[in-house]
Amino acid sequence: MTMILIMLTLFIGGLAAWMIEGWNRDLPRWISIASITLAALLLVPLLDAPVEMLPLAHGVSAPWLEYINVPWIPRFGISFVFAIDGLSLLLVALTIFLGFVAVLSSWSEIEKRPGFFQFNLMWTLAGVVGVFVSLDLFLFFFFWEVMLIPMYLLIAIWGHEKKSYAAMKFFLFTQVSGLIMLVAILALVLVHYSQSGVLTFNYFDLLGHSIDPDLAFWMMCGFFVAFVVKLPGFPFHSWLPDAHTQAPTAASVLLAGILLKTGAYGLIRFTVPLFPDAAAEISTLAMSLGAIGILYGALLAFGQSDFKRLVAYSSVSHMGFVLVGVFAWTELSIQGSVMQMVAHGFSTAALFMIAGALQHRLHTRNMNEMGGLWQEAPRMGAIAMFFIVASLGMPGLGNFVGEFLILLGAFAVNKWITILATLGLVTGAMYALMSLQKVFQGERDHPKKNGGISMPDFGMREMIAMIPMMIGLIYIGVYPQPVFDLVNPVLASLYELTGTNNKIWVGVLP
């Protein structure tokens, strides 16, 4: 029930924020804060909920914290299957937390239709939560679409100078890839029906069926493309820089912080477990795409002068690590990928918030027009330094744990791709330090720079958003074990599930 309540809270909170807009323009954001807080409180009991073992397939069971199965459209075998395990719980918690950050980051930025803005924000969050907990493929697809439309509106209505282009690009990329996935879902369900005579969209029923390899390969591709576009993986990444650059700060925070994670989540939950053999066939290709994405994203980031665009390309680079880790499919590398997802959620959300704060204050995103801002805004400078250092993979902070485990695990599977991916340590440092220099260091008194605009430092509201993210990154960098313990049973069961009927996955040293 918890999951449904959380989604309802967000849906209703969004509606209420919209309704109340005509009456009071300040109230919507408070309603958002209230509903997010309520959602967070609803999540708390799950932290020490008893675990229920449910069979997946091949005699492998997985631990679930909550499982609901209510028929929806019985004629087509569609049901409300909501289930949450450690992996979903972690990602839902991240979603709700970053929702909170997103509301704070848009606090005084939105003047047009503030209630409708909050509505879209809340509905995006609800859609993402739905994606993370739906285990009926039709329901999953439904939420996949639900999170897309309000995000489209956020960019199209409240975006910057090229918002229509960016919003349309975002919509087309996600929509086309989503449709490909829908075809794959329908094909999978029909194949299952023709084999067993049972029409069902239930994940648990569809797992572990042997499908004709050729057919499985194409179905797997359908899922793969949808998720890799979302991730975004090379060469499907080019919607991301435009969407990020044009989106209002809150939407960037949600996009980078959690929407990209739905792609990674989909790969871990659906693509590999549903089609382990087919996924193994393309694992080398997928890892290569990941490694190329790491280096290509870093190269692109290095060439940018728009701060938001730089952070966007850095996301391409960082999510490349996740792709490498998932398709290496060793216990170490998947754990690393999950850790990287969380760490990237914090560090990139924070960097987008900083970029948004800079744009709000200086009315530019061009780094060549900034410089030396540390003097006037030392808090902002120090915090930006922290997150930049985190994102270049400094040990002691979360991103390092993620990247290191991914590479350590992937090395046993494919050493050359891993070596290529490791070079990202160097290229990552190059763009990260360049941005720090251009924005916060260097000369301040350059006549062309900043146009004499005064530069207020981070205030209380911004610090309230930033400090928890900093503590979070330090915590998972120094003591990541609780996160591992939360997620490990889930990943172990998936690993076992795919390992039992496929030996290709088992990492062998070349």
């Binding site: 290095f302 216990e331 340590l425 190059m430 260097g442 074990q481």
Partner: protein, 616 residues
Amino acid sequence: MADYIYLIPLLPLMGFLLLFTTLGNLPKALVALVGVGSVASSAMLVLLTALEFMTLREPLSTTLYTWINVGGFSPFVSFYVDGLTLTMLSVITGVGLLIHIYSSLFMLDDKDYSRFFSYMNLFVFAMLVLVLADNLLLLFVGWEGVGLCSYLLVGFWHEDSANGAAARKAFIVTRVGDTAMAIGMFLLFAHLGTLDFAPMTAAAISQWPEGSPILTIACLLLLGGAVGKSAQLPLQTWLPDAMAGPTPVSALIHAATMVTAGVYLIARTHDLFLLSPFALNTVAVIGAATLLMAAFTAITQHDIKRILAYSTISQIGYMFLALGVGAWASSIFHLMTHAFFKALLFLAAGAVIYSLHHEHNIFKMGGLRKKLPVAFWSFLIGSAALAALPFTSGFYSKDAILLSAYENAWQGPLLWGIGLLGALLTSIYSFRLVFIVFFGEVKTEPSQPAGWLMAAPLLVLCLLALVGGFIVIPVMDVFPAATGPAHDGLIAIITPAVPIVGVVIAYLIFLSHSIDISPWTDSKIGKALNRFWFSHWAMDWLYDTFIVKPYAWMAHVNRMDIVDWFYNFTADVVRFLHDQTTQSQTGQLRTYAGVMVLGLAAITAIALFSGGGTAP
């Protein structure tokens, strides 16, 4: 027993947190108290640890918690103190404390006093973690941490973009080495299943025969990390630029401690290197080549700090040479004495720069002997030790290295010869510096000399640079027993005599001017050679031309993302077709009717002819 060891790094970390989070809002006196006090407390605890180590005569260790435990990979956060670590701890906290005291006055007028001490404390923390770590991953935490602090402190005066560039160069060039080291760790873990030093070494010894190719590759990758951090060939180019940082930073990070981390790494994993003669010989070759190249460059420089920087590269080359010939203890011994005399030289240079209003060019200095006596004596003693003149600390360590090199089974006399040539050059460039800066006529009038907070650390370091050679470092149990250099009569006389010859040459050229070198230096070849050496064998140019510029060019050319062109092209094609088909929508009924008739006729024709006339 050893449960207080974790406090040794923790105290500087707390100093950092306090100073960094207050963002410069504390009074300077309090900042100095926290900044210096945290390192002083650590130094006290190191002393306590040393006493315990001496009484127990066995390594101490303490485990704090399991850092990560997934999929068979379970590195602990645990510390290990043996003789090697203890030596490093003493150098870091001892020399570190002196430099912190010195800085409390040197940096007093800086508006970012608090930020300076916060970074310095963070550095000490990271460096302590590096040497205390009992596994390679935790060592890597400290390793990256010191790199970060080096970046922050080189670019400390970040208003000047040039400093920022130097800082970035330092970080990125060392990161190239770190990447190699990370890959080395992946390789070691993939084969040995652990990164803890003791089990890893044991597994390597039982699993790999001597000269095993995988082990050699792993050692070379670790060496990659070491040459990056320790500024050795081919990754040494960042260190001279790193002199952009405040002088105490150069003394602490870029002379005494961080740059010797590579030496420490190889010493710590010496059991692996012993299994791979090829890797070990590579270490020796890199050391020999670097020490000679940097010595030639040092002779041609005129920035006082850059001379010292090249000298540091060169001296670490001696340490690598010692590692490569298996003279482990001598290498660590030279590491320690070098920390004393090089920190002394840097701090003395800082005192000179401080009194001359940030003048770095030695040819604008002169005759400072009377005006700045403390700096002069410090420089004299430091240079004597650097040149390895008899009975100074540097003499004992360098002499041992050269004699061990001579005894080495592989190319011993050659390595010895290179080292000896380097020693000659070392004494020439160090006394060239002394003679030019402190003798002759006064060129720039110094302001008042520095206060006692700066003088006292200099005096202590003078003492250490003089008598530090008599310290016995407790590393006997860490390294395999060396056979000890046999004192072949003639070799044992030539080796210590060469530096004295160098001093005499420097005297004749730069002080008494009895030898006029201008015919050589003004000749065409002399000028070219001078320029070549001055640019440090054109290495910066090489990297700029073949790596940095192409990368920047690629990033610039592709800044619009060529992949995006494909999607935009698709969109353009669709839009083009859309425009074309829209034009057919004329709204004129007769056009539509005409097209319909034509189409019908075409279809009928196709049906008739393609069907071979067999219409239904």
